[in-house]
Amino acid sequence: MTESAERRTADVSDVTGQQSEGGLQRIVNTQPFWVLVALIIICIFMGTISDTFLSERNLFTTTRNFAFMAIVALGMTTVIVTGGIDLSVGSVMGLSGIMAGITLAAGYPLWFGLGACLLSAMAAGAVNGFIIAYFRMSPFVVTLGMLAIARSLALVVSNNRMFYEFGPDQPLFLAIGGGRTFGLANPVWALIVLTLIFMWLYRYSTWGRYVFAIGGNYEAAKLSGVPVERVIVSVYVVSSLMAGIASFLMVGWLGSVTNALGQTYELQVIAATVIGGANLMGGSGYAIGAPIGAALVEVIRNSLLLAGVDPYWQGTFLGGFIILAVLLERIRGRRSE
């Protein structure tokens, strides 16, 4: 009796070191929180040294610019949580944007153009997901292949033409992507709604639970009866769908589309995702990290421009931030172990 009582107390003291944190503590421990802090500091700093940075006009443009990136980053976060990667999002944007452009230019109504845009995107995602899930091929290789394929298909379909006349629904199409509602650009509203949906899915849906389980331990998820293959296919379809949605809005904003739409966009999106706290090893990530990470990438880009830094340097900063973000994650991971 005394022995078991003693053991029980030993257990309790053991456990105190591993308490589950309270709500506030849990938020403070996440990467998106610290990135948000950094973001606010940069914004305050830029606001004091530049008159234009906090101008309504600049804020409007900046939020709209990162909205496209963040929408794609929501899908990318989901892929990365499963331990995968999707390099094809930029090319899928090109292909689906061309599909929207060519159907609208041919005089089809807006819903048809939207359907063509999203379905072509999802088809590319389904091919990615199917090969990755059922042939167990590396996501890196498969989506790298799709990066080339989707871009080439965009060229084939468009025959290297530019589309800028979008048929009978042109005003509506341009208003959806380029307009504003209650002072915010429409893509920002799309981002807000999609972020809330993803937050809900991650926390309250079986699908979200399975996405994290697969990233945590693929074999365990499979042994537990999780339909791992189907979930993986769905994750790549969702990633491409987000690319399609971003592309539809972007073409409406730009007012024209060429097959080069979204070229090298995957790099910015992956940067935003990783900075937003998604771990490239899989198993952890935050829906809210996508807009926060994208905002940081865009604000830094914008700040460099306002500071008069040659735009040729942007790639250097972007690449540097990806490496830095992964490095910080690595250091944090080592400390928590």
């Binding site: 029980r8 589950s20 079986t206 639970r209 945590g216 198993g283």
Partner: protein, 246 residues
């Protein structure tokens, strides 16, 4: 009636005969130790019972009815739960999420189905208190001790109230104090009427909790007797082949 009965189970991988005509009968609420050296066929036997792959020949009966499994999920549906050697847990999820993985409790809100976190936390807490484990449902598995991980893995098996729990080397990689915890968990399973097959290398564990011990050597069953009629020395001799049969 026997919960599980194996009749002349054999398994070959190409030219290698992993199991040869193994018979094994497990009664309700019985705790049986399955011992043998590396390569004796223990893992192969567990994988057949668990439904990872079918035997080359022989029959498997649950409650007297013959069964054929091609996937682990089929074995689980028939009341066989497995605690894998590497525990098969998702480190990034909470204890409760692991316990309910693949069997989440959901609620309807109009047409929308969502995870019922509260009832999963509550049920997990209940199971842990039945197991007299201090593990907490909201803790993330990554930060748990080996004993707590065992408790999570065992709690998983309690969800469906299985007939038989197979435990593959549950004490292989944990500290002495945690071993005692795990053995307590096994006793708790027995008290609640669950049959347990304990696959282990560790003689003291088997003699502490099992009623019967079966020994495999080179794919054959060389002994199957009550623990009270045997001794660690005899079992060691059987495992190594110093003693041929008992």
């Amino acid at each position: 009636m026997a919960v599980l009965e194996l009749r002349r189970i054999s398994k070959s991988f190409g030219a290698i005969r992993a199991l040869e005509a193994v018979d094994l009968t497990i009664g309700g609420g019985e705790v049986i130790g399955l011992m043998g050296d590396n390569g004796a066929g223990k893992s192969t036997l567990v994988k057949i019972i668990a439904g990872n792959f079918p035997p080359t020949s022989g029959a498997m009966l649950i409650d007297g009815a013959e069964v054929h499994f091609s996937k682990p999920i089929e074995a689980r549906r028939r009341g066989i739960e497995i605690v894998y050697q590497d525990l098969a847990l998702c480190d990034n999820l909470t204890a409760a999420a692991n316990v309910f993985l693949g069997r989440e409790v959901k609620r309807w809100f109009g047409p929308i189905r969502y995870l019922d976190h509260k009832s999963m936390y509550d049920r997990t807490a209940e199971i842990f208190s039945e197991l007299k484990s201090e593990t907490r449902p909201r803790d993330v598995v990554r930060r748990m001790s080996g004993g707590q991980r065992q408790a999570v893995a065992i709690a998983r098996t309690r969800l469906s109230d299985p007939k038989l729990v197979l435990m593959d080397e549950p004490t292989a990689a944990i500290s002495v104090r945690q071993v005692a915890e795990v053995l307590d968990l096994i006793r708790r399973l027995k008290e609640t009427g669950h049959a347990v097959v304990l696959i282990s290398h560790r003689m003291p564990d088997v003699f502490a909790v099992c009623e019967r011990v079966a020994v495999l050597r080179r794919g054959r069953k060389v002994a199957d007797k009550p623990i009270t009629d045997s001794s660690p020395e005899e079992v060691t001799a059987l495992i190594t082949g110093a003693l041929h049969e008992a």
